[in-house]
Amino acid sequence: MKRLSLILTMVVIFGLLVAACGPKPTPEPEDKLAEVLARGVLIISTDPAYPPQSELVEGAERPADTKCSSDQRTAAELQGFDIEVAKEVARRLGVEPCFVTPNWDLIVAGGWSDRWDISIGSMTITPNRMEKLYFSQPYYTTPAAFFVHADNTTFTQPSDLSGKRIGFGVGTTYEYYLEGTLEIPGETIEFVVQDPVIKPYDTDLFALEDLSLGDGVRLDAVLTAQPTGAGAIADGMPIKQLGDPVFFEYLAAAVDKAAGKDPIPLILRVSEIINEMHQDGTLQRLSQQFYGLDLTSAAGEFDLDALGQFNQ
């Protein structure tokens, strides 16, 4: 009797756990692209920490007829350049875009366990990331630039920052640049800053916040995307850009190599769509809308085949 009730309790608990996980229909499709098309939903990861690429919308209403599950976000709940690109890609695939919002470091780490299909999140193509991910044709480029406090008068060019304290977001290309290990396919990079004291931050914006405390209070400079710095200046932060951009990044969509189903057809189809969007001027229009300048032309001419992603 006593044993029985104990066993019963455990069975009930186990049952609840199983029920919580829910029965998942066994998928039929052969590859990721077929799975997305059959599902009618493209699950896209985006970290809404990087305006104006991706940011939250206040007071958004979920469309009543959405196919997104309750822990996914509909297109109405987010906005920004990446989100517009993602919506357009999904539209041309003929499916609904649904978004999930894990931290950026979880997205670039790869090994997504099929929680989402694709990242459309301004990810720079780097050899490191190519070990875990397949990249699409880039949809725009971002100039990376140093920012210093507005009161500073001693620095006139990026090379003056050698040996100084420089902030950046963890896991970003700016980190690799400061370490001197950044490689961008199709670009020769000059490491003009020698032996900086590197100060990692959760995201670039926290670094900018610390920089704005005062010249040299916590940081001497921050290395981040030019549009990010320009956005912070527009929001009233007392900082300024130092010299010309130090390198350009090619930003693309990416899929997980370790996905349960072959992701190559999906990334090839998305590359096709992005090329169409370059040619018909969609991307240029969106770039003008969000950045006030055309950041897309160089990305359209990028030679994706030169990466040799699928030669294994």
């Binding site: 199983v18 940011e55 939250l56």
Partner: protein, 291 residues
Amino acid sequence: MATEERSLQEPVPTSDPDLAVGLALVRRARRQRIIETIKVGIVWIVLVALLTFGLLQLRFDPFYIFQHFGFVVEGVLTTIGVSLASISVASVLALFGALGRLSRNPIAQGVSGFYVSVIRGTPLLIQIYFIYLGLPQIGQQLIRMGYRDLGELFTLSEIQSGILALSLNYGAYMTEVFRAGLQSVGHGQREAAAALGMTRAQMLRRIILPQAIRVIIPAIGNQFIAMQKDSALVSVMGVWEITFRANRFARKDSKFIEMFLVAATLYWILTIISSWLQSRLERRMARAYER
């Protein structure tokens, strides 16, 4: 207590001088209590004023808070839901953990001791990453071995991963709480139960647990209050609870102080409500033992 209150509500003029003295004493004690409460209240008001003054020295825009706090408030239900689900599962884990620690069975003792040691010895954030990133890899191994349905169970959604991590973590800490509660029941109670011919399970269910629960419940309340704040860690997986909403919304206009103030205030309000519920529950639990 109950009878005293009733007699205070209807102060019948009584001829019994002893009762009159007693009532006067009760009234005086009550008046003193009220005065004390008022004094403490004044100290609180002064402290809140000082805190507000301190916060006003920060560079922030109160009007922005007023316009946008609603977005963060929408995360309150998620925070409460995750915390409630986790504390429930954690309580079950803690009960089994404590029984294991007190058991004479070497396997049960070893398992629960190991569980408490590993979980208490590692940070919650790392446990969250292990469950979110690591479990699906075990699942994929299982799928490769042919156990597809079982393997898919290992890929938990972000909310499920968060609840599992919080439950495992708090379950370990609460194991000690439950153990203390079970041990607080006098040995005589066990002997009496054994003398009546109860089995160990009967003894546990009818004699030990009902008495232990009185010690355990207030501690669970305390853990629940702590958990509401620790649930902020699940934001790393993109669960839209209070901290995620505050943090990510702040980036839109670089209004970090504003949004973090909103989040902090919400957590504080949740804590005040929980503490109040906890003290009510405690009083209720203590009722049977009042003289």
